[in-house]
């Protein structure tokens, strides 16, 4: 029972982080209908920029994070303006290929600037852990989960109550209708990429604080959350966080209780789970199911 609780707590915390990363995918999908495979690279860039500020420029960590966010916004907007803008109206799969091109280019630039050696943030989160009964929860995971949930709440508020949020929601709902009431789609696209890059940067910083940075394995965390995105539904913000938590739990509980199926089940279990869920609900748990018309 203790083990179970311990794993549940870890799963929740790691899952919340997955959820935050998944959010980046969802934001871009909602605005432009594109699955951005370069999300892991956006994460890496955010994390490294924060590294530059906090370690190389010796700025206190939280100030460094605050400085990173506008840079990340800018990176997102620049990528949209100079790369994705040319792909408007092209077949979707070409657009996905564009994100693959970006993924390779960004890896190259990061390797060029920061090399392949692992880098470490100064100690960000307290290393101690808190004990509740027999369950140890490390502050590190608590912080990661807390920050993730904090950001998700901010997004929900942003989309509910701000004008830009409303405009972005309107656009994702019906591009033509949005166009006809004078919304600039280009502006919305650029905003959503900027916000997605910001989300990715926050996710990258959290993961960087958990396990350290490098240019070779770090981008893999981007693709690792694909099942999360699809489980929650490609266009659902709460879906991203709930999907993240479900996958986090699966990854932690499966090796313990289904370990007899062979090692490494934690890698497969998310995919199998998502596949089963999708067969029952083809648009994910919270994805919008549109009535098909002809």
């Amino acid at each position: 029972m203790d083990t179970f609780l311990q794993l549940v707590v870890t799963g929740l915390a790691v899952g919340a982080t997955y959820g935050l990363i998944a959010l980046g995918f969802v934001l871009i999908y909602k605005a432009s209908g594109v699955l951005n495979l370069a999300q892991g690279e956006l994460m890496m860039f955010g994390a490294y920029i924060c590294f530059v500020f906090s370690v190389q420029a010796n700025i206190p960590f939280y100030a460094a994070v605050a400085l990173t966010l506008p840079v990340a916004l800018l990176i997102g907007a620049v990528i949209e303006r100079f790369f994705l803008r040319y792909m408007i109206g092209q077949p979707l799969i070409s657009v996905i290929m564009m994100t693959i091109g970006l993924m390779i280019l960004m890896r190259g630039i990061a390797t060029w600037i920061w090399g392949t050696e692992p880098k470490v943030y100064p100690q960000v989160f307290p290393q101690e852990s808190m004990s509740i009964g027999s369950v140890n929860i490390s502050y590190e995971y608590l912080w990661a989960a807390g920050l993730s949930i904090f950001f998700v709440l901010i997004y929900i508020i942003f989309f509910r109550f701000t004008k830009s949020g409303l405009v972005m929601r309107a656009t994702s709902d019906d591009e033509h209708a949005a166009l006809s009431i004078g919304i600039s789609i280009k502006k919305v696209l650029s905003q959503s990429w900027a916000i997605a890059a910001l989300t990715a940067a926050v996710g990258g910083i959290i993961i960087g604080a958990l396990v350290g940075l490098d240019t070779t394995s770090f981008p893999q965390y981007g693709l690792k959350v694909l099942p999360v995105v699809l489980l929650g539904g490609l266009d659902s913000i709460p879906g991203a966080i709930i999907g993240g938590i479900l996958i986090g739990l699966t990854e932690n509980l499966v090796p313990e209780y289904l370990g007899f199926l062979g090692g490494g089940m934690e890698e497969l279990a998310p995919y199998i789970l998502v596949l089963i869920v999708l067969i029952v609900r083809p648009h994910g748990l919270f994805g919008l199911k549109r009535i098909e018309r002809i």
């Binding site: 083990t3 311990q6 794993l7 870890t10 790691v14 982080t17 390797t111 392949t116 050696e117 692992p118 880098k119 470490v120 100690q123 290393q127 101690e128 852990s129 140890n136 490390s138 590190e140 995971y141 993961i207 958990l210 396990v211 350290g212 490098d214 240019t215 070779t216 394995s217 893999q220 965390y221 690792k224 932690n252 090796p255 313990e256 090692g263 490494g264 890698e267």
Partner: protein, 422 residues
């Protein structure tokens, strides 16, 4: 209309350039060949499927080390005047690309030796080399390549299992609790992770400890709670983690948080990265890793290390051998060690058949006669030697430990006590 025309033209030109590229490249290859033709002694050709870019690009210093060693060897006069020509291509750890490079070089030149990067590539190359009769000068790594000794495969430095066994021996020497020590292994499911399990388990019966828990642990895992719990529940005394600096740090942190502190944590040579103590945030204290070379800040005044430090700056690879980055320096040395192996074999072969007549067959036979070979500046590793039953250059390692947040060498090179080869 004008715009589409420009677009059409530019694309057509691009296509034409791309179509003619192969021709150009093919021609440039020919030029190189004719340039080198008027030498008196024929060149000795060796090949390499190198690793510079791609997802495993972190291992690029190995390639630099190897290339620099060959450059240095040529500057020192080659093998009795015969120059060595290295043919290499960046294969990105990819098996198919490595095979293609091998097929190309082995067909185009009279190769005496080839070097591959990556387990899959080396295992595949071993078969081809054996068939074609070309020496495979392997870069450390995989015990599967040399245990048992294959006719054409020679390893330049100790493999993962040798290091692991050396570290286990040290652990047993320190063990004084008067009962059988319980060992847990965490490993990723790839050749790097799997290759140590068999040897450690077999070695256990000899040294009197017991492997009680084996946990899979991915190199990119975000947390290691379930592994930590498993080790805690099984009351493991010694944890062997086959991982990178990052993944070992994740495990150390999570074990610490679960209030489980094993007597000893041992990692492979990848763990002795200067960033590790910081990555593990204080929980890495006392972790042991092994190192097959004499190279650490303490050893920077080592004559040989000094020599290579200068050479690395002079040649193509920049500031690689330095106090700041001993891990990169170690990878560089790893590459150098292949050069040492080849030099040893080629010198021996030249003595036997003359530098002009060195063939792959001659190199192979010569290598098996090498004993305790050291070049003037190869003091970064023990002397190397081979026998028909042992194709491993040497099987000595030294151990490093994190003390007060930095890696410190805790013993000198010592011969790993136990070999599969014999």
């Amino acid at each position: 209309m004008g715009r589409t025309l420009v677009k059409t033209l530019s694309i057509s030109i691009l296509v034409i350039i791309l179509m003619t590229l192969p021709l150009l490249i093919a021609c440039s290859d020919d030029d190189e060949k004719t340039e080198n033709a008027p030498e008196e002694l024929p060149d000795i050709h060796v090949g390499m499927s190198a690793l510079v870019t791609g997802p495993y690009g972190a291992y690029a210093p190995i390639t630099w080390g190897y290339l620099d060693y060959m450059k240095d060897l040529n500057e020192r006069g080659g093998i009795d005047g015969a120059q060595i020509e290295v043919h290499w291509k960046d294969c990105q750890y990819d098996v198919a690309q490595s095979i293609a490079a091998y097929a190309d070089y082995s067909k185009s030149y009279d190769l005496v030796a080839f070097t591959g990067m990556g387990t899959g590539a080396n295992l595949a190359l071993a078969e081809r080399c054996a068939e074609d009769g070309i020496v495979l000068a392997a870069i450390g790594g995989e015990p599967e390549l040399i245990w048992p000794a294959q006719e054409w495969v020679f390893a330049s430095s100790p493999n993962h299992a040798i290091g692991a066994l050396g570290a286990m021996q040290y652990a047993m020497e320190q063990w004084d609790e008067g009962r059988v020590a319980r060992v847990g292994i965490a490993y990723p499911n790839n050749p790097f992770g799997q290759s140590i399990i068999g040897p450690i388990e077999e070695y256990a019966s000899e040294l009197g400890y017991e492997v009680v828990e084996k946990q899979e642990f991915e190199l990119t895992a975000l947390d290691a709670v379930s592994q930590s719990l498993a080790f805690r529940d099984d009351e493991v005394d010694i944890v062997y983690v086959q991982g990178t600096a990052k993944s070992v740090a994740v495990l150390c942190k999570d074990m610490d948080r679960q209030g489980f502190i094993p007597k000893m944590v041992i990692g492979p040579l990848h763990v002795i990265h200067p960033a590790f103590p910081e990555l593990a945030a204080g929980t890495g204290e006392g972790v042991i890793g092994w190192n097959p070379f004499y190279l650490w800040p303490q050893d920077m005044d080592n004559e040989s290390v000094q020599y290579w430090r200068d050479k690395a700056l002079e040649y193509s690879s920049g500031d690689i051998v330095s106090e700041e980055d001993p891990y990169m320096s170690m990878l560089y040395m790893w590459g150098l060690s292949v050069g040492v192996l080849l030099e040893a074999g080629l010198r021996e072969a030249a003595a036997e058949v003359g530098a002009a007549n060195i063939t792959a067959e001659a190199l192979r036979n010569a290598l098996e006669n090498v004993t305790n070979f050291k070049t003037g500046n190869s003091g970064f590793q023990p002397g190397i030697g081979f026998s028909p039953s042992n194709h491993e250059a040497y099987s000595a390692t030294s151990l490093m430990q994190v003390q007060d947040g930095v890696w410190v060498r805790i013993n000198n090179m010592f011969e790993s006590p136990w070999k599969f080869a014999e």
